[in-house]
Every structure is written in C-alpha cells, then in structure tokens.
C-alpha cells in the first residue's frame, strides 16, 4: 500500500512516514474535508476510477480507499 500512502502524504503535505492504512481525519489534522475532496480527485485520476457520492462520504481512512480500489479490480500495492 506504499503507493497509496505516498499519494495521500503528497496531497496532505505530510511526511509519508505519518501515513499508514489506519490513517484518517481523526488522527491526521491536515485531512480535513477540503483535502478529503482533493484526495478523492487524486485517487480517481491516479487509479482511473470513479467513486460514488456515498463512497466519498463514507470513506474515512487509507484502508477504506484501498478497499474501494480493490472492489474495482485495482491492485493496491
């Protein structure tokens, strides 16, 4: 999941060492709702997927994003 964690770190402007599968808005202050939408856009573009509105409002951690990507057949490494 290093690539996904790296993307999250890049968008949030934090060191990649601060990001792991359990990282989410509750534990990482830069992950606010504005950056949440930026994350969604970056993940959709990077992995060529489109998330639904319900998914966007329900996803609350890196591992949640990984689950959604895997459900779309994306290999998350």
């Amino acid at each position: 999941m290093n690539r996904l964690c790296g993307l999250v770190a890049e968008i949030l402007g934090v060191d990649v060492g601060e990001v792991n599968p359990e990282t989410g808005p509750l534990v990482l202050p830069p992950w606010d709702s504005l950056n949440h939408m930026r994350l969604v856009a970056a993940i959709e573009e990077t992995y060529s997927v489109q998330l639904t509105t319900d998914e966007i409002t329900n996803v609350l951690s890196v591992s949640d994003f990984a689950t959604l990507l895997r459900e779309r057949g994306v290999r998350v490494d």
């Binding site: 709702s33 504005l34 949440h36 939408m37 509105t53 409002t57 609350l60």
Partner: protein, 145 residues
C-alpha cells in the same frame, strides 16, 4: 429582486442536526435569465430567442439549467449551513424545464454529518409551484470552525 437574508446565519457544525431543512423561493424571470446569459456568455437561443424556442419541443424559452442549479449556492452559503459554509461538491440532475416567470423553491436537507471531517451531506431540490422537482442534487459542504 433578492430575498436572501441580510446576513447568513453563523451556525457551528455541532449546532446543525441531521434531518434539518432550509428553503427559499425565487422567480426565474426574463431579466434573471438575461443576467445569467451575460455573466456566463451562454446565449443559446433556447434561453434567449423566443422565436427559435417556439420551434422546439419546449414551445417557449426555458431557463438555463445551470442558472436554476446555481441557487444551491445561495442555499448553502446563506441558509444551510450559512456563513461558515465551504462548498465542496454538488451533483445536479435537470428533471424538468423551468419556464420564464416560474417561481422556484430551493430546498436542502441534511442527509448526514461526517463529524471527523466537519462535513455535511445535503440533499438539494428545486421545485416548481406544482411541487414538481425541476432540479435535484446532492451537495457536500464543510463547516468552518
């Protein structure tokens, strides 16, 4: 004519409840359509040329769909949640045409709250006086601390 409140309510995230609603109404007349066309540069004849519009399936001029949908910005910024709103996203579906002179009611309801993001998920509607849905959508809004 404008009927927005003089100032938007200063509501904290915590004071807003799931299921809460807000609404306001506006007449979409020829001057509003002309102003929107000037602002955006969309002078498509379906909106601006009555002779042309009469030859279409609509039979008369209709308002720009995006003009009608743009009032969701008013809904979010001036009513629900108001002053502290940051509009994050808005999906829209244009369900029915809006004829010039129609009075449209814009309504929003908090579908859910995401506490960790201080984000509201709103259902948004635009309804004509017959109660028919002319535009429907869904908005995500951050509430500033």
């Amino acid at each position: 004519m404008t009927d927005e409140p003089v100032s938007a309510p200063d509501r904290s995230y915590g004071s807003i409840q799931a299921g809460e609603e807000a609404s306001f109404s506006r007449v979409i007349d020829a001057s509003v359509v002309a102003t929107f066309a000037t602002l955006t540069g969309d002078f498509n004849p379906l909106h601006m040329d009555g002779v042309y519009a009469a030859t279409t399936q609509f039979g008369e001029r209709v308002a720009h769909g995006m003009l009608v949908a743009s009032y969701f910005s008013t809904l979010v910024g001036m009513y629900l949640p108001g002053r502290r709103a940051v509009f994050l996203s808005q999906d829209v579906r244009f369900a029915k045409p809006v004829r010039l002179g129609e009075r449209i009611t814009f309504r929003g309801r908090v579908r859910r709250k995401t506490d960790s993001l201080k984000m509201l998920d709103l259902d948004t509607w635009a309804l004509n006086d017959a109660g028919e849905e002319v535009v429907r959508g869904r908005a995500q809004v951050m509430v500033l601390s």
